[in-house]
Structure formats: C-alpha cells, structure tokens
Symmetry: C2
Subunit: 340 residues, 2 copies
DNA sequence: CTGAAAGCGCTTACAG
DNA sequence: CTGAAAGCGCTTACAG
C-alpha cells in the first residue's frame, strides 16, 4: 500500500477517484449513477478506484444539484407512547426504516406536536423532504390531504370521509382480514358468532365489523351480538363481560384486535368457560398479545413490518413520478393456534 | 398535472431575500445565522423579507459548505419489535425525535441488520451522519466503541466491561433507582424484602440488584431471596412462583421492572395473597404495565422520553467539540400507587 | 459593518 | 462515449 492511498484531507472526492482511475469526474459520476453509456474498461477502473479509496458520495452535494433532499418523513402522533402497549407503530417504523436503509432515501421521524400542529405541516412543505408517510390518527388526516399536491404523500390508513383530492393509501384490507377470521370460525362449525369490535369511528373498526357481518351472512347465519372496545385488553374484557351479561347464546367471538381478545380470554377464564370448547375466539393482529395469551390466539397476521416497507416503496414511486394506484393492499395471513 | 407553479418559480433563495431586503446575500446569511455584527435596521429588513417570502434555508447547500450533514443516527437493534411489549425503545425514540425537531439536526433511524452488522458501521463511518446514538444490546456495544473516535457517539447504556477508550453514556442511575424503590419498602416497615431481578448479564440487571442490596443493608436488614427474570411479565410470574416455593418468609418484593412486577402480581392473586397487606411490591419503570396492573404499581419513573432528549443534547455538545462528562445521569422519580 | 468572490462536491447539458 | 464547464444555494475568509 502506497502512501498515496491514505488521503489526509478527509473523505475522498469524485476528483480523487477520477485521478486514480485516470478519467474525468464526470465519468466517475456516470459510473456511480449507473449510466450505461460508459466503456466497460472505464467502469472497471472507476469501480476499483472507488473500492480502493472507499469512496462514498457526498449526499449534500448530490442533493443540491438534483434538487432532491433524499429524505422521507414519517409522521406519527405525539401521544404514541401512551398507546404503546400496541406494538403497531414500532413495527411499521421498523419495517420502513429497514427498507429505506437499502435505498438512498433516509427516513426521518416527525412527531406531530399537539401544541403546534402547524409546525409539522410547515416542515413538510418547507422543502425539507421529498415526500411523507402519514400515520396520524384519523382526526388529523384531512389536514394532510390538503398538502398532498405540495409534497408527495402516502397514507397508512384510509380516511373516513371521501377526500376531495386523489390520495394514495397503503394498508391491509381490513374487511378481508375480518372475513378470514370469521369464516374460520364458521368452518369450525360455529353458528352463534358475536364480535368485540374496535372503535366505530375508525376505518379499522368499521371495516372489521363489515367483514364479520359479510362472512356470517355468506354462510347463511345470523350475526351474534356486537360490543365495541377501544383496542386495549381492558376494553376487550369489559366487552366480553357485556356479551356474557346480554344472555344471548354465543359459541364464538371474533375480536377486532388481539389485545381485546386477550382481555376477553381472561374474563372467559374467570367464568370457567372453556376455550375453544364452549366459546372459540379468533382475532386480528399477531403480536405479543396473541402469542402470550392462554390459550394462544388464532388470529390474522397483518405483517405490519411489511406494511412499513410497502409504504416507503409506494412513496418512492410517487416521488419518481410513476403512476400509483389509490389503494395498495398489504397481504395478510391466518395463523392458527389454540383458541379456535 | 404539474403546472401549479404560479408561486414565482419555486423556493426563494438567499439571493431573493437579499434583493427584497436591499442587502447582499452574505448579510442575509449572517442574519439568519445570528451573527451579532449586523446593524439592527438591516436585521429587521432581512427578517421581514424572510417572513414575506417564507424563506427556508436549503439544508443541502448549508451542509455542503459547512461540511456537516446535520444528521444524527439512532442505532437500534433489529429484533426490537419482538420485545416491543416493552415500550422502552418507542419512548426513547419519541423523546429524541421531538427534541431533535427543535434543533437543526435531523434524526434518522438506523436498524442494525442482524445479517450484516458491518453495514451499520460502514454507514456511520461513511460520513453520512455527524454523530450517532447507540441503543444496541450489550453484546454489540464493544464494536461501536471502536468507532467512537471516527464519529461522535453517545451510548444509551453503560458497557458491561470497562472500555479501552473514553466513551460517553447517558442513562438513568440504575443503582439509585433501585435504592429508591427498596428504601420505600423499608420505610413502610417491610423487613423481609425479596427481589425479582433482571438478567444478570445486563448493566440494568446488575445495577438494580446492587441498589436493592445496598438499601437493605443501609437499613440494617438482611436481603431476602433473589430470583431473576428477563424483564417480561411471564418471567416475573415464574420468578414470583419460585420465591413462594422457596418457603422463605417474604413481606415485600422489589421487581427490577414493572413488567415483571405485573406478572408477579398475577401469581400473587392466584394464591390469594393480599397486596400490599401480605406482600408489598415496588418496581422500576412507569408504563402501561404499572398503571394497568391490579393494584397499580408503586414504581420508579425513568422518564425515558427525557432520556431520549438528553441523548440528543449530549451528542450535539460532543459534535460541537464541547467538553462532555463520561456519564450523564437522567433523573428519576418515585411514583406511589397502591402496591406498597 | 458589509459586499464581492471563492469555493463546498456533486450532476448534467453541451460540445467534440 | 468523454471531458470541460456551468451551476445547485449556501458560508466565510478577505478586502474595504
């Protein structure tokens, strides 16, 4: 190794790579960006020089000339930590960050400030990012929809109301997921299927009830009673209690979340009701709560980490000006365990 | 359709602001960066122009000339989601992201790839970031310590082994937190205090045992039995069962985490042991598990979101070349509820 | 105290 | 196919 290799002035530049490879920096740039017009022998010389110098392109310089920040913001609600018994955000973030790290977009987390909601919007429209992923709660979604043509955006949940302008959303098909879980109950011979629904002012809550209903009527059965919770274990337990108190005959419960199902299971045990013998339970979402409950839950896996990745992919296509469908569905799968 | 460009040709530049304010762009730059040498009337003219044009500095251009990326990486383990019943990471990330958003550093999430651990290190040393926050598990910490003089770094947990080179860590004082919880038990007249410890190959596990011991011996008492778990509710329940099976007299338990305490509480209820009357329980960490258990837990609040903010602050000082203490303690507080 | 000017490290028309 | 050159939008010595 010659002393020329050890550059003193810090990071090697395009210029240095070009000098070593015996070409201009324009050519180095072309090779690095994969232009196919460069002669093979030059490509090789450049690649060798890049490897030898451990050249890494300067993002700021590239950004400046391309007029792209190469950054993507993921907008999440401030109060997230309080609901973090629900691993949802953590999983999306992780999936998105992992996928982003394999591309040349950097993912940055933007926490919505409850005190100053405008701040987030100003950031997004201030040219700080090439695009944004919106994972906010329903209530703040409409405000972002307005910005959707100032900066490319992909939403992680469908808005409750139809939107004036065309937007892009990536999510699981909640109706289908509920159909899958409920149909499984039907196939196991259950005929009196109640539901513990999610909040009925959220898309997930509404869609999952719809799926439950449609699977039941497809089977020629009558829907059992419905009680709603707020996705937490405690609310699931309370809903289960109300279902029991209602006195209607029930041989199965479809719970709109594993957390609520876990709470329901506890209540059922208290009453010495055998699961699945007396009452079978199927739910949606596969996480800590579905695996550590007694018995473990038969549930629909939403592959939330994959949803994170698909969100990023979809946004990148939007940024690149490609045609993107208004809705991209992330596939889900039924996981059979002992509760059915 | 892409022709909504009625806004005077894209983002305003320094040049445009200068033109409107009647000064050179050098002066605008000085005002924006708060140099005190500028005449008040010019400062005002510039500020007005900035407001009027809604000027936002171009980060890439600034980055390029300052030779700073203005980015900070937060390195977290890949397997995080699996342990996400523990809200720890979510809270640190949230605290860090919120604080960072008030500064001109952008926080980016770097998930360690289990498949290619070198990748993360290459990213960090490739000039992509001005500094890094390391929240990895103990096992991978030593590899990062090696990089600590290639790029500024702050660690979220103290390394188990003494390190060759000087590093900087920000964390709660785990010994002190355990002393606080245990002393509270002592003050309420408990004399036979057992502990459900964390994993004894982690700094938090070790330090909390030490705090428990020292509070007990300070009180002139003898330590009760010790059983270790792995911070999950299930492991806490099992440890509690072993404590009971051991047959030693116990009138209090110090659990090294709220999650383990929650598991212990369930086991105690199964045995119809009254809490706190028969056995008082104090723990560490204030989250979903401490508030939703029956009864709610008396526990030490670790203020994890604040830890996230302090991590960022400390790193920024390091980046700015300031003198930083090797250890920065994040303050904790005792929260009294019904379990003691 | 202020401005003209020289870059920071890239990309990309434009010639050849 | 390749290179010389003109910027991208800032900051900061350097004069005045």
């Amino acid at each position: 190794m010659t002393s020329e290799d050890t550059v003193e002035g810090g990071k090697p530049t395009l210029e240095a790579v070009g000098a070593l490879a015996g070409v201009s920096r324009a050519t180095v740039s072309r090779v690095i960006n994969g232009y196919s017009t460069v002669k093979p022998e030059m490509v090789e010389a450049v690649n060798n020089a890049v490897a030898q110098l451990r050249y890494v392109p300067n993002r700021a310089a590239r950004s400046l000339v391309r007029r792209r920040t190469q950054m993507i913001a993921m907008v999440i609600p401030e109060r997230t930590a309080e609901f973090f018994a629900d691993p949802y955000f953590a999983e999306v973030i992780q999936g998105a960050a992992m996928y982003a790290s394999s591309t040349d977009h950097t993912l940055t987390l933007l926490i919505e400030s409850d005190a100053d909601p405008e701040k987030t919007r100003r950031y997004l429209t201030g040219g700080n990012v090439d695009g944004a992923l919106i994972l906010s709660h329903h209530s703040s979604v409409p405000a972002y929809v307005e910005l959707a043509d100032a900066v490319p955006m992909v939403f992680g949940v469908r808005p409750l109301e139809p939107t004036a302008r065309q937007i892009h959303v990536v999510d699981v098909d909640n109706v289908e997921a509920a159909v899958t879980a409920t149909r499984h109950l039907v196939e196991r011979g259950r005929t009196h299927i109640a539901t513990i629904a999610g909040p009925l002012d959220t898309a997930a809550g509404i869609d999952r009830v719809q799926g439950w209903r449609s699977a039941i009527s497809d089977a020629g059965l009558t829907p059992g009673p419905l009680e709603a919770g707020n996705f937490t274990p405690a609310s699931g337990g309370e809903a289960m209690q109300r279902l029991l108190d209602g006195g209607e005959r029930i041989d199965a419960v479809f719970a709109a979340s594993a957390q609520m199902a876990a709470g329901a299971l506890e209540v059922l045990r208290t009453h010495s009701i055998r699961i699945p013998y007396d009452i079978a339970v199927a739910s949606i979402d596969n996480n800590y709560f579905s695996t550590s409950s007694t018995p473990p839950l038969t549930t629909v896996d939403l592959d939330t980490a994959n949803k994170g990745a698909v969100l990023v992919k979809t946004l990148q296509r939007l940024i690149d000006g490609e045609e993107v469908a208004p809705f991209t569905a992330v596939p889900t799968t039924l996981v059979e365990r002992q509760s059915v």
